[in-house]
C-alpha cells in the first residue's frame, strides 16, 4: 500500500532511500525472528507435566479365574480395560479413544466400546468396528504371575491392526 502511495507522489525515488527501506525491512525481520525465538524459549522452559503414572507401573487386575472368556472389565487405577478373548487369552486396552482422546465406555448390551464424542466403536480386541477412528485402541502388556493378572501401564503401545502377539495366554 505504502509503495503505491509513494510512487504516486515520488516517481523517482533516490537509490539510497531504497537501500534504507531494505535495511528497515531487514531490521524488522530480525526483530520478528528474535521475538519468535524468545516465545519459543519461554514455551520450551515450561515444566512438563509430571507423569501421572509415576511410581507404581504394575497394576493388579485380579485373578485369572475371575474372568471368563468374553469378559471385559474396567480397571480404574490403570485407566484401562482388561478383556478376556474367546480363546482364553488376555489383552489390556487403553481407555482413550484413538480418534480424539475421549474415554470409551464398554457397552455390555451391544458388546462393544462406544465413543461418546464421535461415535467410533471398537470390539473386545480393541479393533475398529465403526469409523471415524482409524486405529485400534492402544494396548498394554499383561503379565500373569501365580494366577494373578498384572497390567504394565508404563507406556501404551500403538498398533495398526490386532494380532495374537498382543495378547497374553494363561
Amino acid at each position: 500500500m505504502t509503495s503505491e502511495t509513494n510512487s504516486d507522489h515520488l516517481p523517482e525515488k533516490p537509490r539510497r532511500r531504497t537501500l534504507l527501506g531494505w535495511l528497515w525491512a531487514l531490521l524488522g525481520l530480525l526483530a520478528c525472528i528474535e521475538l519468535g525465538w524468545l516465545t519459543g524459549s519461554i514455551l520450551k522452559s515450561r515444566k512438563p507435566i509430571a507423569a501421572r503414572r509415576q511410581g507404581n507401573r504394575l497394576i493388579d487386575a485380579g485373578r485369572v479365574e475371575s474372568f471368563s472368556p468374553g469378559d471385559v472389565k474396567a480397571i480404574p487405577e490403570a485407566m484401562a480395560y482388561l478383556s478376556r478373548l474367546e480363546d482364553g487369552s488376555f489383552i489390556a486396552l487403553s481407555k482413550t479413544c484413538t480418534h480424539l482422546g475421549c474415554t470409551v465406555p464398554w457397552d455390555q448390551v451391544r458388546q462393544r466400546f462406544v465413543c461418546p464424542c464421535h461415535g467410533s466403536t471398537f470390539d473386545r480386541t480393541g479393533s475398529v468396528l465403526t469409523a471415524p477412528a482409524i486405529r485400534p485402541l492402544d494396548y498394554y502388556p499383561v503379565r500373569i504371575e501365580n494366577g494373578l493378572l498384572r497390567i504394565d501401564i508404563a507406556t501404551p503401545t500403538r498398533r495398526e491392526t490386532f494380532d495374537a502377539s498382543q495378547t497374553t495366554r494363561v
Binding site: 480404574p76 481407555k95 457397552d107 461418546p116 464424542c117 464421535h118 466403536t121 475398529v128 469409523a131 471415524p132
Partner: protein, 427 residues
C-alpha cells in the same frame, strides 16, 4: 476527509465525532441496508472487553481452583455471576452477529475490489471470535472444558507435518493439565483481544477509506450530516442491544458442568453449539479431512470470493435485486434440507459397514465424499448458468447452498444427536 470548517471540540463528544465522517450518503444510513450488524459486533466486543476485565478479579486460572472460583461467583450478594452471564451470552451472540454481518457484506455486494483487504481482515476477525469463544469455554475447567481441550489438542495432532509439535505446544506436555490451562488463559485474555483490537482499528479505518458503507451507485448522492443522523442510529442500536443482553443475562445463567474428571467423558460429549457442525463432520469423515482439508478449503473459497472477477453482486442492493433474495433464501433452505438426509444416509452406511474396516479410510471417508459434494455443486452451477442465471447470482446460490448445509450440520449436531452420538429424535 476532515475538511470541517469548525474544529471538533476537544472532549469525548469531539472524539466520537472524530471517529465518524462529517457527512454520510443519505441512502447508507437506511437500517435495512446493514441491519446495524457491524455496530452490534463492535458493541458486543466492548461489552466483552469490559466484563472480561471484571472477571479477571473473580476468576482463578489454576486447575484446582478454577471451577470453585466460578461457583463462588454465584454466591448470594455477588454480582460476579451476573458479569459472567453477560460475558458468556455476549460471546455467543457475537458469533451469530459476526456470521450475519459477513453474509450481509457479501449479499449487498460490499466484498468488491476496493474492499477486499477489509474482507480478509473481517474473516480473520471472525476466526479470532471463534477462537476466543473456544478458549473462553475452557477456562471453567468443567467437564465440557476438559474434554473440549482434550479433543482440540488431539485434533491439532492430525494437522499434516506440524501436528505433533502443535499439540505438544498447546498442551504444554504430553497430557492435558495445569500448563494447558495456563496456555489457554494467556491466549484468551492476552493474545486474542490484543490482536482483535489491532485488526478492528484497521477494519474501521478501511471502511472510512472506502468511503463508508457500500451504496447503490445509481441513486443520486445526497450527503447528510453524520451528527445526528448516523450517531443517533448507532446509539439506538448499541444501547438497545446492550439493554436486551443485560436483561437476558439477568434471567438466564451461563451453563457450568461438573468439575473436570479426566477418567470419564460425559455421554454424549458435545462441543459448544457453534462447533457442532465441525463435530458432525468428524463423525462422518477421516479426521484429516474433517479437521484440516475441508475447513481450509471452505476458508480459502470464502477468502477468494472478492478476488474472482465477475462474481461480485451489485453494490448496495440485497442479493442482486429483483427476486435475488428469494433465490438466496431458497438455496439456503435446500442446503439445510439436504444436509439432514445426507447425514442419515451416511449413518446407515456407517452401520452397514460394521465390522473390521477394510476400505482405506482416507479414500472412502475423505476423497470420495469430498469429490461427490464438489461434483454436485459444480453440476448445480452449470445448470444455473444454462438457465441464464448471471454469474454473480449463480455463485451466490452456491454460497448460500454451502452455508445452508453448514447450518444443517450444526442443527443436526444440536438436536439430533443423543447418547453415544447416535441419531435420535429431539424430545
Amino acid at each position: 476527509m476532515a475538511t470541517g470548517t469548525s474544529p471538533k471540540p476537544a472532549s469525548l463528544t469531539g472524539f466520537i465525532l472524530h471517529l465518524h465522517p462529517r457527512t454520510v450518503p443519505a441512502d447508507t444510513i437506511r437500517f435495512t441496508l446493514s441491519f446495524g450488524l457491524g455496530g452490534m459486533s463492535a458493541t458486543l466486543f466492548l461489552i466483552l472487553l469490559f466484563t472480561g476485565i471484571l472477571q479477571l478479579l473473580s476468576y482463578s486460572a489454576a486447575v484446582d481452583s478454577a471451577h470453585q472460583s466460578i461457583i463462588e461467583m454465584y454466591a448470594a450478594g455477588s454480582l460476579a455471576g451476573f458479569v459472567r452471564n453477560i460475558h458468556h451470552w455476549a460471546g455467543n451472540l457475537l458469533v451469530i452477529v459476526c456470521v450475519l454481518h459477513l453474509l450481509r457484506v457479501y449479499l449487498t455486494g460490499a466484498a468488491d475490489r476496493t474492499r477486499r483487504l477489509n474482507w480478509l481482515i473481517g474473516i480473520c476477525l471472525l476466526l479470532l471470535v471463534l477462537f476466543a469463544n473456544f478458549t473462553g469455554y475452557l477456562l471453567p475447567w468443567d467437564q465440557l472444558a476438559y474434554w473440549a481441550v482434550t479433543i482440540f489438542t488431539n485434533m491439532a495432532g492430525y494437522v499434516p507435518l506440524v501436528g505433533a509439535w502443535l499439540s505438544e505446544v498447546l498442551r504444554g506436555g504430553g497430557e492435558v493439565g495445569p500448563t494447558t490451562l495456563a496456555t489457554f488463559f494467556a491466549i484468551h485474555v492476552g493474545l486474542v483481544p490484543s490482536l482483535m483490537v489491532i485488526l478492528l482499528i484497521f477494519h474501521f479505518w478501511l471502511i472510512r477509506k472506502a468511503g463508508g458503507l457500500v451504496r447503490d451507485q445509481d441513486l443520486p448522492l445526497e450527503r447528510i450530516s453524520a451528527m445526528p443522523a448516523l450517531i443517533s442510529r448507532e446509539a439506538a442500536v448499541g444501547l438497545g442491544l446492550t439493554s436486551l443482553l443485560l436483561l437476558f443475562a439477568a434471567l438466564v445463567d451461563a451453563p457450568l458442568a461438573d468439575i473436570a474428571n479426566p477418567g470419564e467423558s460425559p455421554n454424549p460429549a458435545k462441543a459448544a453449539w457453534y462447533f457442532l457442525g465441525l463435530q458432525e463432520l468428524l463423525l462422518h469423515l477421516h479426521p484429516t479431512f474433517a479437521i484440516c482439508i475441508i475447513p481450509l478449503l471452505m476458508l480459502a473459497l470464502l477468502a477468494l470470493l472478492p478476488f474472482i472477477t465477475g462474481t461480485n453482486l451489485p453494490p448496495g442492493i440485497w442479493c442482486g435485486g429483483d427476486n435475488g433474495w428469494a433465490h438466496a433464501a431458497a438455496a439456503w433452505g435446500i442446503g439445510l434440507g439436504a444436509a439432514i438426509p445426507l447425514i442419515m444416509l451416511d449413518d446407515l452406511v456407517l452401520k452397514s459397514a460394521d465390522g473390521p474396516v477394510r476400505a482405506v479410510p482416507w479414500i472412502s471417508r475423505g476423497l470420495v465424499p469430498l469429490a461427490a459434494i464438489a461434483a454436485a455443486l459444480w453440476l448445480v452451477y452449470r445448470l444455473l448458468r444454462r438457465r441464464r442465471s448471471s454469474r454473480p447470482e449463480s455463485v451466490m446460490i452456491l454460497v448460500m447452498l454451502i452455508f445452508g448445509m453448514l447450518c444443517g450440520l450444526t442443527a443436526a449436531g444440536v438436536w439430533l444427536r443423543g447418547a453415544g452420538m447416535a441419531l435420535t429424535l429431539p424430545l
